[in-house]
Symmetry: C2
Subunit: 355 residues, 2 copies
């Protein structure tokens, strides 16, 4: 059972790298699994939707992926979502400044817990992981780099900008911020964003649900320099993002963002007033279906009352009634349930009726 | 891990029967698993697409489901598919005529193997399962009922039509055949169709791939009288069909039915002729995307040759070229790769260009 779509994708690319045209772009929607204890927003089985580009180092890919997040969330009317970014090279530079790149994993793992356990416990953990008080102070200083994006970039520069790695990380974030601001899109630089996954090497993304919904992350991603190396094909860089489809669904439900007509499955219900009448109705219904009008025939010859109730319960806006008289006269009665309006038209006109 | 979508659906209906409006209809597309040894057409993980109606005994549901098969296969241009039907009541009547309803499972299981092991081995199996020679003769007679639907119905009637169950089964098939023939749709009555699953109680369906593709079944289904009874809620009848999505994909690939333009992902490639030029192109690209034109910007400032090769390999029909001159003059060059035609237009007109 897959736990994400990135590693299987890397395997696919490694196995097929001779046939693929690079940069290779793909999207994928599929269920994945976690052994976590299930609870709200944390499911055993859930759907992820990924978009990745491999075979290109260009930061334009990061720009495009950020735009995809932005476009999708805006179309879903998730106003108030946040797109946070950080850079693995900045975290690497922090480790370097602290006294060694070998500290990076320890620092990343501890910082990643800041949200959950708070600053003091992060500091405790860093000490336990063998960092000195001096080093922890540097990390604390780093975690306190706040303000506008401009201020954060300045703060980061003064803290880690004298390393090659740090300089590169800051520059790349700067480029990304600048490009997106030309599209009036705000990214939030968040130095505390670490992401547990060790395959990331460049920009890292996190998409957060609007603050009013306490569900946290609804997407994430980042750049990975050598994911295919795992499968014996080194040196194919990539970058990708992921949407947590089920959580996004939860958020939309909580914020009442599903449009009202999403619950209208059937637009037209044909009443069933007997064997012959229903077969006649069936033919007309097929004509509407060919026009992509969603309709159904009530399944048995039941009381009017019961058929009306069915339409009401299912929120079906129109009812078409064909009794013996209508059948003989080749007419049908259309009733609009919301208003009670009713009219009789020739059956031949039904398929052009403005439902 | 689910092995089908019917049982989980029955569970859902049982758990929610107080809130649902009956007849309840739903479709569902989802992966399912089999522990089989994987081979062509037989996968460990594969997608099923189901449509079911529960809470109604009406045969109109069977008519509609058969129409769904027909509509879908026709839209996929799978000419030559076969829709076979039989009826569990006919098989039950056969058991009755043979000397007892308790024989039905044995008879069904043996008949279900006819395709694979042939008549003689089916007869051996029936003997092994404790049926007498006399009984096996009756079953053999049943298996030899062939001809047109009319002839088969007559044959079945004379063999099992004097039982209540058999009469009902034949009548229901007759109704189904008649209804569908008014839509010019042929069903094939196949008395040897048994289906292993024991929850079926009425009509059973099997959809077969065009004979030229040796893959067999691409769908199946039937009526089940009491599937929710498994979950403590008895007396909710239902009927449903399933599509084997992966096998249908295999069939379409083998018959070359995917349209050629399915392989055109990107319609327009913007060339990358430098930092400034590419950002200018990026803006124009966003305008096209808003018009739902699929386009991309080549990821780096590379040789013309390489960018052309990328377009060619990816089957991209149009290329837009913006160099320094075009940028200053607010123009862009459009090249149609198939013909080599080329024209220069004002950038402002690009979004209305008939790509």
């Amino acid at each position: 059972l897959k736990y994400d779509l990135t590693i299987p994708f890397a395997r696919y690319v490694a196995m097929n790298h001779n046939q693929l045209t690079f940069p290779f772009k793909r999207y994928q929607v599929q269920p994945v699994w976690r052994a976590d204890r299930p609870q709200k927003g944390r499911y055993r089985e859930f759907y992820q939707c990924d978009a990745d580009v491999v075979g290109s180092n260009s930061l334009l890919n990061e720009v495009e992926l950020a735009l995809i997040y932005h476009t999708v969330f805006n179309r879903l009317q998730l106003t108030g979502f946040e797109l946070r970014v950080n850079h693995r090279k900045i975290l690497a530079a922090l480790a370097e400044v602290c006294g060694g790149v070998d500290k990076m994993t320890d620092i990343t793992i501890a910082i990643d817990k800041l949200d959950k356990i708070g600053l003091e416990k992060v500091k405790d953990e860093l000490i336990q992981r063998g960092l000195t008080n001096e080093q922890v102070k540097t990390i604390e200083k780093y975690l306190f780099v706040t303000g506008s994006n401009e201020e954060i970039l300045t703060g980061l520069k003064s803290l880690i900008g004298n390393t090659e790695t740090g300089k590169k990380g800051v520059e790349e974030l700067q480029f990304l911020i600048a490009q997106l601001s030309t599209h009036n899109i705000d990214l939030i630089i968040d130095p505390t964003l670490a992401r547990g996954l060790n395959y990331y090497t460049g920009t890292i993304f996190e998409a957060k649900a609007p603050a009013s919904v306490k569900i946290g992350s609804i997407g994430g991603g980042g750049r990975y320099d050598d994911l295919t190396g795992l499968f014996g094909v080194p040196n194919i860089p990539g970058v990708g993002i992921s949407f947590g489809v089920d959580r996004i669904y939860d958020v939309m439900e909580e914020l009442n963002l599903f449009p009202a007509d999403v619950h209208i499955g059937t637009q037209v219900l044909f009443f069933n007033l007997g064997d012959k009448e229903s077969l006649y109705a069936f033919e007309l219904m097929q004509q509407l279906r060919e026009k992509e009008i969603r309709c159904e025939l009530y399944h048995e010859n039941n009381k009017f009352d019961k058929q009306f109730k069915y339409a009401e319960k299912k929120n079906i806006p129109y009812v078409v009634i064909i009794g013996e008289t209508e059948m003989t006269e080749k007419k049908c009665k259309i009733k609009r349930l919301a208003t009670g309006e009713q009219e009789t038209i020739p059956s031949g006109f039904l398929k052009n009726y403005p439902f």
